[in-house]
Amino acid sequence: MEQLAWLPVHEDLGAALSAARRIADPAERLARAMHLSGFRRDFTATGRIERLAEAGLAAPPAELGLVPLRLAILASHTVDHLVPGIRVAGLHRGLAISVHVAPYGNYRQALLGEDPALAEFAPQLVLLALDAQDSPIALPLGASEADVEQAVAARVAELRHLWRRARERFNAQVVQQLLVATTPPLFGSYEAMVPAAPRTVLERLNAALRHAAREDGVLLLDLAAQMAGQGPADGLADPVRWHQAKQLVSPVMAPLHGDLIARIAGAVLGRARKCLVLDLDNTLWGGVIGDDGIEGIKLGQGNPTGEAFLAVQRYAAQLGQRGIILAVCSKNDMAVAEAVFENHPEMALRRGDIAAFVANWSDKAGNLRQIAKQLNIGLDALVFLDDNPAERDIVRRELPGVAVPELPEDVALYPAWLGAAGYFETVGFTADDAARGRSYALNAARQAALEQTTDLESYLRSLEMVLTARRIGPAELPRATQLINKTNQFNLTTRRYTEAEVQALADDPASLALALRLTDRFGDNGLISVILARPDASLRPGEWLIDTWLMSCRVLGRQVEAATMQVLTTLAAQQGIHALIGEYRPTARNGMVADHYSRLGFKPMAPLPDRPEGTLVWRYETRGATPFVHPIALDLT
């Protein structure tokens, strides 16, 4: 597969770049660079896009919606040539990534000693890009398994110390690059039988790093696995580039390399996609259901084409199992399309797996808008998979926020292309993720119950909801951090925090870090809301700033806010807090909560110092407050 194969090809990228260079206004050049970053590009075009963006990035206009992110790369090989690829892939995701490259090979000094330049840069993300040549574990080939284990453990302990330093000093999320084999095997297939063979040691080290990273909340960058089969085979660990310039990654692979890092950065900032929208005819099965009928479409075992379509469905179903919402958008009659999911024996996807099912003869852009609305997610959370190049093109023009991967002619390659595009990169996987697809499907059942009831109050009571509030501990930390970083709509302040920062607040006895879970008679909605409340320099003793209040849009309209307020005032009173100060910081996405605090009975007050323009502040006295009315039972144990 060509690298970035899922991005559409520009008809003349070189000419477009030359034309864009002549634009006088830096902000307009930046906007053009963002647009061009979404096309398939080699490393020279990627470098040109970065230069196009550069001046505008000094002061990006707010309407471009770029989110800043500071990435420090501490490397034991040359990485400067990879910076444009990272920044341009960031632009493609709406991120303005600034990159600090520590002096070559000085990663220990940068973290263990004082590095004023790094400290001033204050990285949010620290990438430790190490390679097999750096601090190699040099053991005689006859060394025992125990010797190897010991040497590996020592090296991992050293790296864990560096990870800890990065967290303590910068509150940064650490990303550890796994080691890439740069020398050929010594023993061939027998290699793994020899404990001290270089490749065996390397694999053990990588296995130990994976394990330690999981324990320490560190993310991994697995270049060998992610680049395999994409771009030229010598793009990674090319000995010529190594001897010439100590490059582990060839400039040729800079676009894909940058994309891999920007994906992780995007996931850390909650910019990953959430929903896979599927076309039906010739995407999930071969043929056109309206013409060919349920017996005529190609799907399932016994026929190569049918098996290839089944593999697409299975991959989509697996994505559903890891928490990606599945939806259908197809030009078909609803009844005919749904009947395939209900009645075709070979379908791997079932009607219950699809959270939003839209089949009609209207245009797909409009239908995708409807799907986003129905699921309460942004258009920029959608990935649309469609075999038809014309439909793909129209959706890209009409809805630039929706990711629409290019697809190869052969459906057998669809899963690989979709997987390679990395739309669903994540920083964690929790039990809630595994249950999410089910949860969205249950929302359909709730919707049906609502349609049978005459009034909202009795419907909400009939749900038998229980809101469970827990102080954030190890069990809640990953999912709570994930919500903090990906919730855009019901989010009063859109402050983003790393796990380390949330942990620090949860450990502070003067503050409150709450995770809320909602269950009802249809099932568990999972962890749906996070509240962070703390003293603030701008407030008086006995007052808490509600630093963060966010909620999953899955539970909108269920009066969870009032129940949450009851929880919050109860816990605040227990800690001697008599006033809650709520802030609303407007973004392009959170208009739905502009009236949140006034609806809950907060009173407007004067702005706090050092807040972004447009921030509204509200105050709530917990003493003498009237009780909150809501149909939800509370569990505060």
Partner: protein, 82 residues
């Protein structure tokens, strides 16, 4: 590919790598003549030329690329051999 064609194609490679549509090349053009032709840009040039002409430079050959004339001669030789 004639030498003129190689010059034309290599000029485009230089213009792309340095993002400068005004670059013109002569055999005597060296790093001193082009702003930004540092060691990192040199690797980029080598790799972009390899991609454009479908060739690979050997490690030893990389040391002999001092000016544009060297580039063109080596590309011509390699393409003839291919």
């Amino acid at each position: 590919m004639t030498e003129d064609e190689i010059y034309a194609a290599l000029t485009q490679v230089f213009r792309d790598v340095f993002d400068d549509d005004d670059i013109t090349l002569s055999p005597a053009t060296t790093a001193d003549d082009i702003a930004g032709w540092d060691s990192q840009a040199h690797v980029n040039l080598v790799v972009a030329a390899e991609t454009r002409f479908g060739i690979r430079f050997r490690t030893a050959e990389l040391e002999s690329l001092h000016n544009v004339g060297d580039f063109v001669q080596l590309i011509a030789t390699k393409r003839k051999g291919a």
